[in-house]
Symmetry: C2
Subunit: 494 residues, 2 copies
Amino acid sequence: MANARPVHRLSKKLYDARVPALREELVHLQVRLKEVPSKVLLILAGEEAGGRGEVINTLSGWLDPRGVETFAFRQPSDEERERPLMWRYWRCLPVNGRLGIFAGSWYTELLRAQADQGLPAATSAHHIEHIRNFEKLLVDDGTLIIKIWLHLTKGEQRLRLAELAANPDTAWRVTDEARRNHRLHDRLARSSARLRAATHRPGAQWTVIDAADPRARNLAVAGLVARKLSAHLKRLEAPRPKAPRIAAPKSLKPAGLARLLALPLDQKLSSSEYEAKREKWLGRLHRATRAAQAAQRSIVFVFEGWDAAGKGGAIRRLTSAIDAQDYRVIPVAKPTDEEKSHHYLWRFWRHVPRAGLVTVYDRSWYGRVLVERLEGFCTEPEWRRAFGEMNDFEQQLVEHGTIVVKFWMHVSADEQLKRFREREHTAYKQHKINAEDWRNRRKWHPYEIAVGDMLALTDTPSAPWHLIPANNKRHARLQILKTAAKSIEDALGL
Amino acid sequence: MANARPVHRLSKKLYDARVPALREELVHLQVRLKEVPSKVLLILAGEEAGGRGEVINTLSGWLDPRGVETFAFRQPSDEERERPLMWRYWRCLPVNGRLGIFAGSWYTELLRAQADQGLPAATSAHHIEHIRNFEKLLVDDGTLIIKIWLHLTKGEQRLRLAELAANPDTAWRVTDEARRNHRLHDRLARSSARLRAATHRPGAQWTVIDAADPRARNLAVAGLVARKLSAHLKRLEAPRPKAPRIAAPKSLKPAGLARLLALPLDQKLSSSEYEAKREKWLGRLHRATRAAQAAQRSIVFVFEGWDAAGKGGAIRRLTSAIDAQDYRVIPVAKPTDEEKSHHYLWRFWRHVPRAGLVTVYDRSWYGRVLVERLEGFCTEPEWRRAFGEMNDFEQQLVEHGTIVVKFWMHVSADEQLKRFREREHTAYKQHKINAEDWRNRRKWHPYEIAVGDMLALTDTPSAPWHLIPANNKRHARLQILKTAAKSIEDALGL
């Protein structure tokens, strides 16, 4: 019985005496969570037979079940496998007022991969980087993350497994995998300790809880949840200073603005030349998307640009080269209230295409560093960190095999004015112009600075920005078709 | 070349002359669709090689792609297979302002099943009943449904297949299945004609379009969409009479009210007796849910009842018997704006559990015939037809293998008053009582009538109502545990 410490078991009497107050506290905290509102993500991991299931059942019994959701994350479904690794977690994130319990998570997945395949250190480090980024993103957004590791020594684990095996109701839990994990206890403990150390970060710390005594373990978990949640709510309920007024923004990286301003806009393209070339490139784009589909690669197009830069028309030409059954256009307007209850990237994650399909985002997550930055819809720290978050999002898409093609459609201020007036004077275009467009136009220069920063800070090798001069509509459309076709061909190695 | 009629082909010149006006009209109609707002479901079906894909591509090119979504419905994903047949269609229904094109639909699925398996007539008739109900439900809810059948004679089909096979870009479309469908043309044409006749219903009529000449076919489809959409918008844009005031409701089926009023409410149950029996039934319920999971059967619990009848407490006891990873509790409050944009059943369909899992609805679709009926949140025709819609929904769940258990928790008006007062005087219960509860209480008698109608009209053999006397909390909780366990055991034949 090496490793088995003498366990000082908590008596049932003491346990029963402590539970009622703890339950009441938890339920009160849930009410406050709904009022603030905020959300909690509880990640439970631990050694084999540490009692994760029992902890979750106990905790769920103590909490108001209407505010809790538990996710087990067993085998990914085919819809999940066809998207980047983190998609399945994004789709299960709790909304405001709720507590999500993840039994099994990116940690379980990574540890299993390490144990099964002896994952190379570089791959592990890379996964860890994604995990850190994901947790930071949630914490920054106001989600309380509680990470608990239920710990058993090898000797304690042996005892627990023997107990489980002896009871006909629980014997099924002692699977071959459980036995193997027991044999490998010490090696697994070392690798999980390394993983915890690498992901023990501000706002997303690990708490290791001794799981040898089930009653003490339950109280420890529930007590930790109560303390963490209480502190979280206290922070949120405190009066917060008003967000400062929005001043004219300063450029973070003037190189981007310089690139934007240097873009020549006076291209010419005759109608006949356009038509001849258009057919050629539509054909190439069609073949490229079909080849991507055959390779089960998905494609994401991002369209950003000035109001009236011609996004709609360009999207129409682009999609005419793709089978209508294979693409979806996501027009990005105001978020729905469900979307508002999540991290700002959630509403874009939910439309990430399945294998072989295409999503066209008509405006996108970049709204965060454009309109939201300039209109004060988010705070300065929020839009500042968004650059990195968006790079990481696109990186995940690309690593999964998705081809990401981003366009900024650029017109001059004069050209925009001409198009606005035309819209106002053309009966069937009037719905395309409103007071907000004119308001945005008055902020042309601040917008230029924001666009420049976006171009400089999110132009990555795997998801570069394509600047499209768009004063000439024909030229712009043709360049988009070309760029789209070539980007896909390049990604496929054609 | 039997069957090949002499085709009078539409010249390219005439076609090109007609397209611009049609496109402009379609885009204008899309703008109005967004403003009303309403939604369109375009179902495209037809003979092999009728050009469904080309029609969709053409139409998508003419419409504003931001308002269109096309769904192909190829092989169902595992997430779809684990739910009732129609779940995959529910999840793809267009939201307000949008046009959904279903290339492939319940019709494709049924016709394929008929061709492959020689589906028994009774099964077909049963499917047809579900299709009729589903389309009626959407039409009643204000969705415009346009159903188009692209028709080719056998001779025309042979020509089209030969054309496709001759072109290296399209030869892949001439699959073995396509060849077989061509051989079976006449038989398939007869069975599809029967299917169309059986599903040609008010608001969901079929239009058969001759698909021999692609250009004429495209114009015919687009023209039909424009005409139907225009008429639909005209109806919706016309000033509508105000909904009448809500009068005290009259009972539709007094037997339900009688059943409710006859329920004895004065049961006694000692604390010790309760605890002993509770353990027994919790164990049985636990084993029953595990057996259901082993059989890949999912379970839906519906909790309805008076305010303060003890739904929350009962759900807490019930879920304590189920592994937390296997159930979700859906608290039904105000719908989100995304949910509001859909049929009222949509937000319940989206939470239908996967195989082996459990969903607990804390309040449910029955809100339609209770609070919505009494508060005038829906019109009288709406709540009147809801009874049948809800029966059909539950029928689909049951046919899929889901076990549906519905509870009405009943307290007397006096008992409710006592509990309301207690809530007001107990600090940590005050959040559970508000002005609305008192308002609802003043409508006790109208509510009784609505509950009675619900009990009478939605008490079906496969999804019966269980009336739970709930003046005594212990008795109510125990009876719920018992009923739940027995219902699952019965469904599993244990």
